[in-house]
């Protein structure tokens, strides 16, 4: 029976009298020794007392504890009997003088029973309300609320009941009636209040009606749709189009001279990891680039996080503009680093004029003109009872009165935080550009002012006077129209930028939701399309007016409201016909950026490609709804996660364990998983200690790398051939381990030059280790500190990637290896790598060979020789099993529990009255000993299980794209090399995967995709 039911029953039976039997026979108990001197046998008084006490006990205590009471009664009885045996005594007495005794005991017993029964009868035992106990003919309708309608004898109880009900009910907080609350002004005020803590995106209300919302990084974001859509979203990604609101990404704008920008920026990124800000194609503004930022001059340590960047195309002036798009979790770190490398201080009001005129004007204007941001508005209208005019478009990532732009006194470089100023939607899927071309129509040229007062479109009219700009616009729109002829966005060069000015998308809204389908026949043999294929979008076309803050502001402020638009629609002569706004139609500058999709690896090239669209703020819903009407599906954060998972790329901030945000994320994940684990009843929890899982809720990267380093040192340097190998791999023979050591020893004298380098590098490493080592002593939390790096050097990854493929057997890929032009895997090649990166992690992708569904924090292990042999013999071999471990903490936990119980009992014995129990006990209950979890410092993580641990999975699931279980994770570089070196040629890259809650290992193929 479950606890709740038992409790309920106990409550029901509380007043029921328990059976009363005579105390047991004089048993083996020695009896006697009672502190209290027992009265002589047969004493009426004592007996009477005894009876009364007994019945009192019974009636006052809940009956489910009757055993206890019986035990007490029995003890007492025995005690008495031990002294003189009142049982026997009474017998004799009853024989001697039966009358006297009989009458009084008789009376006592009756009285006691009456008491017990009275109590049982007087109390209503069921969980019903008072009036429900009345027979039906006595019930009255008003009884439920009017106590006086009840019979008088029940009124008292009913009053108590009513009080209880009122007490339980929530307090009515709504002061206004619904009509008042829904009035527009009040509604907006309420919305403003509600987004004070977590900022809403412009599409928030749309999302809130359809999504599970999550509060993350200072924003309210849609997590996943409420409808069933896991597979539908995948299909949209793969075959049609998935839309996502990425407006929460932060945009940092750098303005300054090109050289002065590039010089400090080179310090925070490295050429080894791929692109830099200097990349020629990106610098021209033609392509968007993406790179990993590091703290200045600290590569490969001090990871800041991945960013994407766009340069504004050159427009003649000296100053260049650079947008760096950062995930909000990384923003503060990146911004701080940028401020230090550019030596930017706060400009704002205390700012002294500088030679750089244009940017300053911009800055000043942004300061002076009251923008829609709430902070500025609050400042302006402080004190007044200002009616909130519009939905707040604010920023969740900075404090209320914090500045949002900084200037360097020496170089005049301005860093401004343009978060929430520019919206960003992402369209994923092959049909995303047919959605785009159907939704957006290039703006028509316009030469006369529509309305000179409002300043609507005056920037556009200005532009249309300039023939050069007109031709540029025509060129842009021509290319945009050609996009429809391209079958998938992945066919464009990665990161292509196309600037555009479009008309109001609300005007050509279809009457019904339709699915945008491309019409390829129209473009079948169009030379222009072919040219676009070959050449991509020309540099000029990347220009967009969205770079100009004034124009953005103008566009935002002069938006025709939805209400006016509907009003105009209603006044059309033919209802439902196309609304032609003529010159008053808004023109919106936008930026289209191609997202390359899957680039690494061999299968599914270009999967998940799409377009990002950048809009000026205020226009969010105006573009969102038309997209929806073109049949796109909308995804949330979960869908974004899946998108990156199927692309096998790391997701921000989940898969960046070496940057601050990643560590923070891991910590939060651990606490949430632990909470979830603790919510289960103890008997239903997984005992992870028994399963040999040391860390089911987090990945101890630091410890993993440290242990592997230790193993390497032990096997490579300290070991002399005869001594046993330190690792505890019983299944792996010494024959298996020793050659390695010998090989290593051989390797070092051969390459003397390398060795010296090794020594220096390892010394350096040791030094750094000492520095970091002091921090890393002790607790588990501190294993999270970044004493490891993630290998991101492209050259090394290429090399590793080639080594991961089998070099013999039917799976081998000679072509690929030869294409990569890799060296054979020999000691003199990998030893330097090993020495220069003693504590490195490598991002790997794993695909399971057979069954199995990898999960979060699954362990990647090295298969033993036997496993591989077994696999080659039996193709259906699923994988070995981990032997059960014994729970070494079970003892302690039980002891703790018992102690607690004892303490509880003691307390109960001491205080009969329900005194206020001090909270001390509750604090004691929060011991960090939880049954089934490893407590204290972790032992050597690599050799804890029967298979040597290589790394952990950070994301894993059944991949709908690949049709098998796929996992992404990190492995220790040292461990990986160690494994690859010793695996037979045709079985290279085979690993074992084990989920935290299972003993079954599964075979998986390890890949490194570059």
């Amino acid at each position: 029976m479950s606890g709740a039911r038992e409790k309920k029953r106990a409550k029901k039976m509380r007043n029921q009298p328990a059976s009363v039997t005579l105390p047991a026979e004089p048993g083996p108990f020695p009896g006697g020794g009672g502190g209290r001197a027992c009265p002589p046998p047969g004493d009426v008084c004592s007996e009477q007392q005894y009876h009364q006490q007994k019945f009192l006990n019974q009636s006052s205590g809940p009956s489910y504890r009757k055993d206890q009471y019986f035990a007490k009664g029995q003890n007492r009885g025995e005690r008495g009997r031990g002294r003189g045996g009142w049982q026997g005594g009474r017998q004799s007495i009853s024989e001697e003088m039966p009358k006297y005794i009989t009458v009084s005991t008789f009376a006592q017993a009756r009285a006691a029973e009456i008491n017990a029964m009275l109590k049982a009868v007087a109390q209503k035992s069921s969980n019903s309300l008072v009036f429900q106990t009345l027979p039906r003919h006595m019930r009255r309708r008003a009884m439920s609320h009017n106590i006086k309608r009840l019979p008088r004898r029940l009124q008292e109880i009913a009053r108590k009941e009513a009080e209880k009900a009122v007490h339980q009910k929530k307090e009515q907080s709504k002061t206004k009636c619904r009509k008042a609350r829904r009035r527009h002004i009040n509604l907006v005020a309420e919305f403003n209040r509600r987004q004070r803590k977590n900022i809403w995106l412009e599409t928030h209300i749309w999302h809130a009606k359809r999504f599970h919302m999550a509060k993350k990084w200072g924003y309210c974001l849609g997590n996943s749709p409420t409808e069933k859509s896991y597979r539908a979203c995948y299909r949209a990604m793969a075959k049609h189009c998935l839309l996502q609101d990425l407006s929460y990404y932060c945009c940092l704008e750098l303005t300054g001279k090109e050289n002065e920008l590039l010089k400090p920026l080179a310090r925070i990124c490295s050429t080894e990891t791929g692109l830099t800000f200097e990349e020629a194609s990106c610098l021209s503004g033609r392509f968007e680039g993406s790179l990993n930022l590091y703290q200045a001059d600290r590569y490969p340590e001090g990871m800041l996080g991945p960013v994407t960047f766009i340069w504004k195309p050159r427009d003649g002036s000296e100053n260049r503009q650079l947008w760096i798009w950062v995930h909000p979790a990384l923003k503060q770190d990146v911004l701080r680093e940028l401020k230090t490398i550019f030596q930017c201080s706060e400009p704002e009001e205390i700012y002294i004029p500088e030679p750089v005129t244009t940017s300053i004007q911009e800055q000043k204007q942004t300061d002076i003109v009251p923008s829609l941001g709430k902070k500025r508005k609050m400042e302006d209208k402080e004190g007044e009872k200002a009616v909130p005019v519009k939905k707040i478009i604010g920023d969740g990532t900075r404090d209320a009165f914090q500045s949002y732009s900084w200037i360097s006194q020496t170089t005049g470089i301005v860093i401004s935080d343009r978060t929430m100023e520019i919206l960003r939607y992402r369209l994923i899927g092959p049909l995303s550009h047919s959605v785009l071309t159907e939704t957006l129509k290039a703006a028509s040229l316009q030469t006369e002012m529509a309305d000179s007062e409002t300043g609507l479109n005056n920037w556009w009219v200005e532009n249309c006077k300039d023939s050069e700009k007109v031709s540029l616009h025509q060129c842009q729109s021509a290319i945009f129209e050609l996009l429809e002829g391209i079958s998938s966005p992945s066919e464009m060069p990665p990161g292509t930028i196309l600037g555009l000015t479009v008309g109001d998308p609300r005007v050509n809204l279809p009457k019904k939701k339709t699915k945008a389908v491309p019409d390829f026949e129209k473009y079948q043999d169009n030379d222009k399309v072919r040219q676009l294929y070959l050449e991509g979008v020309p540099v000029d076309c990347a220009h967009s007016f969205i770079w100009d803050q004034d124009i953005c502001k103008n566009v935002t402020e002069n938006k025709i409201s939805e209400q006016d638009l509907n009003h105009m629609r209603a006044q059309l002569l033919v209802p439902g016909s196309h609304l032609d706004l003529g010159p008053s139609e808004s023109k919106i500058p936008i930026l289209l950026v191609q997202q390359p999709g899957k680039m690494a690896g061999e299968d599914r090239p270009g999967w998940g490609s799409g377009w990002d669209i950048y809009l000026p703020k205020g226009w969010g819903m105006a573009f969102w709804i038309p997209f929806i009407y073109r049949g796109v599906r909308v995804g949330g954060l979960q869908e974004a996660l899946k998108h990156s998972e199927y692309q096998r790329i790391p997701h921000t901030p989940n898969d960046f364990p070496d940057c601050q945000a990643g560590m923070q994320f891991a910590k939060e994940l651990e606490t949430s998983l632990l909470e979830k684990f603790k919510r289960r009843p103890p008997a239903k929890r997984v005992n992870y200690v028994k399963l040999g899982t040391l860390s089911p809720f987090f990945c101890p990267w630091g410890q993993l790398t440290k242990n592997w380093e230790g193993r390497m040192k032990a096997s490579g340097e300290l070991l002399h051939p005869s001594s046993p190998h330190p690792e505890r791999c019983a299944t792996e023979g010494h024959s298996f381990c020793d050659p390695e050591a010998e090989v290593l020893k051989e390797a070092s004298p051969e390459t003397g030059e390398v060795e010296t380098m090794e020594v220096t590098s390892s010394e350096g490493v040791l030094k750094t280790e000492d520095v970091t080592g002091t921090q890393n002593f002790g607790e588990r939390d501190e294993t999270m500190t970044s004493d490891f790096i993630v290998l991101r050097s492209e050259k090394l990854l290429m090399q590793l990637s080639a080594w991961c493929y089998p070099t013999a057997g039917k799976d081998r890929r000679v072509r690929l290896v030869s294409r990569l032009g890799q060296k054979e895997m020999t000691e003199d090649v990998f030893m330097p790598i090993l020495m220069s990166y003693p504590r490195a992690l490598v991002w790997v992708t794993l695909s399971l060979l057979r069954k199995g569904n990898p999960e979060l924090h699954a362990m990647i292990c090295i298969p033993t020789e036997d496993d591989l042999l077994h696999l080659s013999k039996d193709k259906l071999f699923c994988g070995p099993q981990e032997p059960k471990h014994c729970d070494i903490f079970k003892h302690k936990v039980q002891k703790l529990k018992e102690e607690k119980k004892k303490k509880k009992d003691n307390r109960k014995a001491l205080e009969g009255d329900p005194l206020n129990v001090p909270d001390k006990e509750t604090t004691e209950e929060h011991e960090d000993l939880i049954l089934g979890l490893w407590s204290g410092a972790l032992p050597d993580v690599t050799s804890h299980c029967s298979r040597t641990l290589l790394g952990y999975v950070t994301r894993g699931d059944f991949s709908l794209a690949a049709g098998c279980g796929e996992a992404l994770g990190f492995v220790s570089l040292t461990g990986l090399l160690y494994m690859l070196h010793r695996q037979p040629a045709d079985k290279k890259g085979l690993v074992l995967l084990r989920t935290p809650a299972s003993l079954q290992y599964r075979f998986a193929r390890l890949n490194i995709e570059v």
Partner: protein, 165 residues
């Protein structure tokens, strides 16, 4: 509402021998009654009666026993009760008889009846008492039962209060 309807039989154990009291316990009474039914009504009757047959309440000091059985077969039970001749427990056996006091549909009615019955018993005892001490004793117990009622009531209130908080 559909429910199983039961009958509760309130009986009194009548015995000459005061030692019989120690035999008055759930198991012994149940066994004795079953035995009697078996003897009187055979296997069929025993099986009928044993559906949901239990001893709900036993008081060794007053000799009160409350039995439950299904409504359909309570006649079989009632007719078998006079044939209970002895109680046996812990190897001891004492002759006794069961005296049916009341047959009710709920435990509650049985309890109510028991209160009344006990009161009546006490009153008759008071009337028939011979010496002063007895009288005093009985009066005292009579008073005590009515007094404790209120006390328990108030105690309950406290209980309720603490529980809901």
């Amino acid at each position: 509402m559909v429910r199983f309807k039961n009958r509760y039989v309130l009986c009194e154990v009548v015995s000459e021998d005061p030692r019989c009291r120690q035999c008055i316990e759930d198991r012994a009474v149940g066994l004795a009654v079953r035995d009697a039914i078996g003897r009187v009504h055979g296997d069929y009757g025993l099986a009928c009666c044993s559906i949901s047959f239990t001893v709900k309440y036993v008081n060794a000091y007053t000799g009160t026993v409350l039995l439950r059985c299904r409504k359909d077969f309570y006649r079989l039970l009632c007719s078998a009760l006079p044939f209970v001749r002895q109680l046996e427990s812990r190897g001891q056996r004492y002759p006794c008889a069961l005296h049916t006091l009341h047959v009710g549909g709920t435990i509650r009615t049985c309890q109510k009846f028991l209160i009344q019955y006990n009161r009546r018993q006490l009153l008759t005892l008071l009337q028939n008492c011979t010496n002063e001490e007895e009288r005093r004793c009985i009066q005292k117990s009579l008073l005590s039962c009515s007094l404790t009622e209120e006390q328990s009531q108030s105690g309950d209130e406290e209980d309720d209060g603490t529980e809901t908080d």
